[in-house]
């Protein structure tokens, strides 16, 4: 008996002596057939007793030494209720509180044990959340159009046009509106999607500014071309590009073909992430041919270092890249039925990962300090000669000699690659948990396109599923998309101090060229309090901190955000709502916002009533910008 047991006895003793009589008693047992009593050992090792009373298997307690006396669990509840009523009559608040808690616990415990008695075993009680079976999911029972990739035949509404630009681009501002003005307010889906996806020249100076962030001349020893400079360049490009589709697709591809820019510590070669990013951009701006992209990424120096394929030789195999090529980049560990897509390495060195690793041998790199580049070469003597048979014994078995064969073979033979890409892209563009029917339908489209994503994405963006109301407001904006869209809406895309943007992106947990977490791009993760708070801080900073407004060229006019003329609070609210593209507010929301307009904040942060004064330009700016702060933080804006 340990100290705790003694402590328990002392506690009980004290409680019994110094508490009223209604504390603890034992109910009167009932007489049962001794043969009806049986015990069940619970999974935690504890034994409970059951007996059949009135044809119902009931949990209870046997009386020691008496084989026919049984106290059903509900009698303890009854007894406790009685004591509780006594305590209530005595108005003993302490006892009422204590007995109420005990009664609650006793109810739970008795109910649980009664179920165990009924089921005859210690099966788990229902967990608060539903189980997610891996095989096979329930067929989609909602609107069939929500999983249909047939073209939406009617013209798009203005709301659907906005959906296209927000979900597949970087928001819908006056700039995007200008792009499609000639198509009218209700354009045909095919026409507007083609317009949206079309390749266009960037505005004058945009690419030069991107280069300035990077300081392409590596002989200069400057702070630029740092990881921070790269992040600023990417943010700036997204906020100013005319190629919404391609730059957005680049980000989606980075979420799949993930890499870490900080894996190379030597500053000489810190530009390698940018070079890697350019591979993704090149493909996103082109036909986005996935096998070609895979081959190019495989021989990229940063990837060779990041996933160790540069050390993978026939004498010294390293399976890291071989695993991730299959797991992260092409098919995932399991198919839609939860079955493995590839086999693990056995002690004898067999298995699809080991085989793929052998096919991937031969690529090596050299840090070239005279050119400040990492040279990549293919050395036959380091390559394990094949043929390397992948997925042997399956209908999709194929033979590969080298890394190019391997990647082409995976895309052309393995049956789950199309579904893997379908799921990943649907998670990025449509909904975080796409139903199987939609994955299968889009997978077929991707395969039919020969893994040319521009063709496949065009089908998706023109489909009934993409615009279905079921998927509206289901996809949280990640921090980067949120930030870029906010900067665009506020008219700061050129005037913003992108050094500050970088700091904010770090705070918002999305420094996109650093090592990503496995869950980095998981849409589930973007609605947590810390990130939403940092998004609010980002908005506070770009609206209120002059260092964030790098307004010398071109100057930023803060009054451009508010309507001109003498407007009422409701008119200002409506102006901002329209500018943000938010749906109509409820009466409660309108009232809350009008209340905000008629409130001022004193130096001590206390809030006081004061009617909105539209004659005072400082006040107009202050309350107007505050509205942006509130509404950009709103649930409606956070979700796509």
């Amino acid at each position: 008996m340990g100290f705790n047991n003694y402590l328990q006895i002392v506690i009980i003793f004290l409680i019994c002596v110094f508490t009223p009589e209604y504390a603890l008693t034992t109910p009167k047992p009932v007489v049962v057939n001794p043969k009806s009593i049986f015990s069940i050992k619970k999974s935690n090792g504890k034994k409970i007793y059951c007996s059949t009373i009135k044809n119902v298997k009931t949990y209870g307690k046997i009386v020691s030494g008496k084989k026919n006396l049984f106290i059903p669990g509900n009698l303890f509840i009854k007894e406790l209720k009685l004591k509780l009523s006594q305590a209530k009559r005595a108005k003993d608040k302490k006892a009422i509180s204590s007995l109420t808690k005990k009664l609650k616990l006793l109810n739970q415990e008795t109910s649980l044990n009664n179920n165990i008695c009924k089921n005859g075993s210690d099966t788990p009680s229902p967990t608060p959340t539903s189980s997610t079976p891996t095989t096979p999911p329930t067929p989609f029972a909602g609107d069939p159009n929500a999983v249909s990739l047939e073209p939406i035949e009617r013209n798009l509404t203005s709301d659907e046009v906005r959906t296209l630009f927000v979900k597949a681009g970087f928001g819908f501002t006056e700039k995007e509106q200008t792009l499609i003005n000639d198509l009218g307010s209700s354009p045909a889906s095919g026409t507007i999607v083609d317009r949206f996806m079309a390749e266009r020249e960037e505005d004058n100076g945009v690419l030069d500014t991107v280069t300035n962030f990077l300081d392409g001349d590596l002989s200069k020893s400057s702070w630029q071309h740092t990881p921070s400079g790269q992040r600023q360049a990417i943010f700036y490009l997204m906020a100013n590009t005319n190629n919404y589709f391609a730059e957005r697709l680049t980000l989606a591809l980075l979420g799949i073909w993930t890499v870490a820019g900080d894996v190379i510590a030597d500053e000489t070669f810190r530009h390698t992430f940018w070079n890697y990013y350019q591979i993704l951009r090149k493909h996103a701006h082109g036909i986005a041919d996935l096998p070609s992209l895979g081959i190019e990424v495989t021989r990229d120096p940063l990837m060779l270092i990041y996933l160790n394929n540069g050390e993978n030789t026939k004498e010294s195999p390293n399976e890291n890249y071989a695993r991730e090529l299959q797991e992260l980049f092409t098919m995932g560990p399991e198919n839609l039925d939860g079955l493995p897509n590839y086999t693990e390495t056995t002690l004898s060195g067999a298995g699809d990962i080991a085989t793929a690793a052998r096919a991937l041998t031969g690529l090596t790199y050299n840090l070239n300090y005279s050119t400040n580049q990492i040279d990549v070469s293919y050395q036959v003597k380091k390559h394990a000669v094949g043929p390397h048979v992948m997925y042997p014994g399956t209908p999709y078995q194929f033979s590969a000699e080298n890394y190019e064969d391997l990647i082409n073979g995976i895309f052309s033979h393995h049956p789950n690659v199309k579904f893997f890409y379908a799921k990943e892209l649907l998670k990025e563009y449509v909904t975080p948990n796409p139903p199987r029917e939609l994955i299968e339908a889009f997978g077929k489209v991707i395969a039919d396109s020969n893994y040319q994503l521009r063709t496949a994405m065009s089908s998706l963006l023109k489909s009934k599923a993409f615009y279905n109301p079921l998927w509206k407001d289901s996809l949280p904006k990640n921090s980067l998309l949120f930030g870029v869209e906010a900067v665009k809406i506020l008219g700061l895309s050129k005037a913003y101090n992108y050094g500050e943007a970088d700091r904010q992106m770090m705070n918002m947990q999305m420094p996109i060229n650093l090592a990503p977490s496995v869950f980095w791009f998981n849409p589930e993760g973007w609605t947590n309090p810390a990130i939403l708070m940092e998004k609010a801080n980002f908005l506070s900073q770009i609206l209120g901190d002059s260092t964030a407004q790098n307004s010398s060229s071109p100057p930023w006019d803060p009054m451009s955000l508010v309507p001109s003329g003498n407007k009422s609070p409701s008119e200002v609210i409506e102006y901002v709502r329209t500018k943000l593209g938010l749906p109509e507010f409820s009466a409660d929301q309108k009232a809350a916002l009008v209340n905000y307009m008629n409130t001022v904040r004193w130096y001590d942060a206390s809030l006081h009533k004061e009617e909105y004064n539209n004659q005072n330009l400082d006040k107009v700016k202050q309350k107007g910008h505050g509205l942006y702060y509130l509404l950009l933080n709103s649930m409606q804006f956070q979700l796509e």
Binding site: N4, I12, F13, I15, C16, F18, E21, L24, T26, S43, K46, I48, L106, T110, L112, D122, T123, P124, P128, T132, P133, L307, E311, N312, N318, E319, R323, E327, T345, L347, D473, S474, A515, V518, F519, G525, T527, N528, P529, A530, I531, L532, M533, L539, S540, G544, D545, A587, Q589, A592, Y596, R601, L607, Q622, H625, G626, Y629, S634, M635, L639
Partner: protein, 415 residues
């Protein structure tokens, strides 16, 4: 006014009740009378997830006999000479960089559980981590939410009762509980660059509150989740900022990732107003496919230093005796080192459990066949059994959270 003095007759009568009561205490352990005392017992747990798959064959290495010989053969560059190990028993020793953890072993407060995992173990980072986060017997039969989320939902935790100090984590995701998940307490507050935008207006206008939205019930799940998360951020920012500002330490933490994370956990546990019972750290970087001999010891040193200071502070603050620390990873690594002097994704791994509530000792042991049958360690103990013991020690019934347990019991892990 109630007269609290009792007569001699009453005293004897109540003593008799007392005897019955003690009988009942022993007789009805499962009726909830005990758990009424046990719940909310102020015990705390720190989970330290060393993400990437830490090599527990290097953390706690066999030191003698065939096990050592086999391992030494498999790991020519990564083995540690037994003379340098910090011996826990005649057969196993800790990596020499784990001196602080070894000190806790000497105090009898370190437990090492060999071969811990789950059924259908995965060697994919993401799948394996989800399995750990969900806390299930079989990866193929998952729950929809993380185990901390389920616990918080079932027991109506406040958002500060379970906190991740390493940002978003799947153990917190997927259900109705919204725990704070921040990459660091230092930055967890609202900034106010302008005079007219602050969370004060959120509060005043109740813009995000459920109460103000007549349509709340018909909102989509993601919409509700977003609203709740904003509400939560508003309601917790000031408290946390104050806790960070007022925190004091007997020994200061180093400015490493784990140093900052242990410091945050210290603040959470030692600030009474926060009432934090679970702190969760996730440190990436343990995926050591190459040059493990140079990188891994540094990671262990970072862990050991932060751990040692945390223990010092917890003891000084009187929290050690109510504390559990669970150090784990989503999987172990391959038994053999690869040709890049690293190791690849493995199977089961060793979990270290510490804290004043721990019954120190080795739980299980490695078999020779563990090294020779496959390329990675097989699983014997179950994650879910470990979680169940921790949760039960905290005074919560693990049954509704996890359902059944499986495998060998870890019933003696905690005092």
């Amino acid at each position: 006014m109630v007269n609290r003095l009792i007569s001699r007759r009453d005293f004897i009568k109540k003593c008799a009740y007392c005897a019955c009561g003690m009988t009942a205490w022993g007789a009805f352990p499962s009726l909830g009378l005990r758990s009424a005392f046990a719940s909310g017992n102020n015990k705390k747990v720190l989970f330290v997830n060393l993400n990437g798959g830490w090599d527990t064959l290097q953390v706690l290495q066999p030191a003698t006999g065939q096990l050592y010989n086999t391992l030494a053969n498999y790991r020519p560059t990564l083995k540690t000479d037994p003379s340098q190990l910090l011996m826990l028993s005649s057969d196993y020793g800790l990596h020499p960089n784990l001196t602080n953890i070894n000190s806790i072993w000497q105090e009898g407060k370190l437990g090492a559980i060999f071969n811990l995992g789950y059924e259908n173990m995965s060697r994919s980072h993401q799948d394996a981590e989800v399995a750990f986060a969900r806390g299930v017997i079989d990866r193929k039969n998952p729950t929809a939410s993380g185990f901390i989320n389920r616990l918080g939902e079932y027991y109506k935790f406040t958002s500060m009762q379970a906190v991740s100090v390493s940002g978003t984590d799947p153990a917190f995701s997927g259900g109705a509980f919204t725990g704070v998940q921040t990459p660091g307490l230092e930055n967890y507050y609202y900034e106010h660059f302008g005079s007219d935008w602050s969370e004060g207006y959120f509060r005043q206008d109740n813009l995000y509150s459920q109460a103000s939205l007549s349509s709340y019930d018909i909102l989509k799940p993601k919409q509700k989740e977003t609203l709740n998360a904003v509400d939560l951020a508003i309601n917790t920012s000031t408290t946390i900022k104050s806790a960070v500002k007022n925190a004091t330490f007997i020994q200061n933490y180093p400015n490493t990732y784990l140093g900052r994370s242990f410091k945050d956990s210290d603040i959470l546990f030692s600030t009474p107003t926060l009432n934090t019972e679970i702190s969760y750290i996730r440190r990436i970087g343990f995926d050591t496919h190459s040059n493990q001999g140079s990188s891994f010891p540094n990671l262990l040193a970072e862990l050991d230093t932060a751990f040692g200071i945390f223990v010092t502070n917890m003891k000084a603050k009187g929290l050690w005796n109510n504390l559990m620390i669970v150090i784990f990873s989503e999987f172990g690594r391959t038994n053999k080192e690869n040709a890049s002097a690293g190791t690849d994704h493995g199977g089961a791994s060793t979990v270290l459990v510490s804290g004043g509530l721990t019954n120190g000792g080795l739980y299980g042991e490695l078999q020779l066949s563990d090294l020779t049958d496959n390329g990675w360690l097989p699983q014997r103990y179950y994650t879910v059994e470990l979680y169940r013991q921790v949760i039960a020690k905290m005074g919560y019934d693990p049954q509704p959270i996890f359902g059944n347990t499986a495998g060998p019991s870890l019933g003696g892990l905690f005092i």
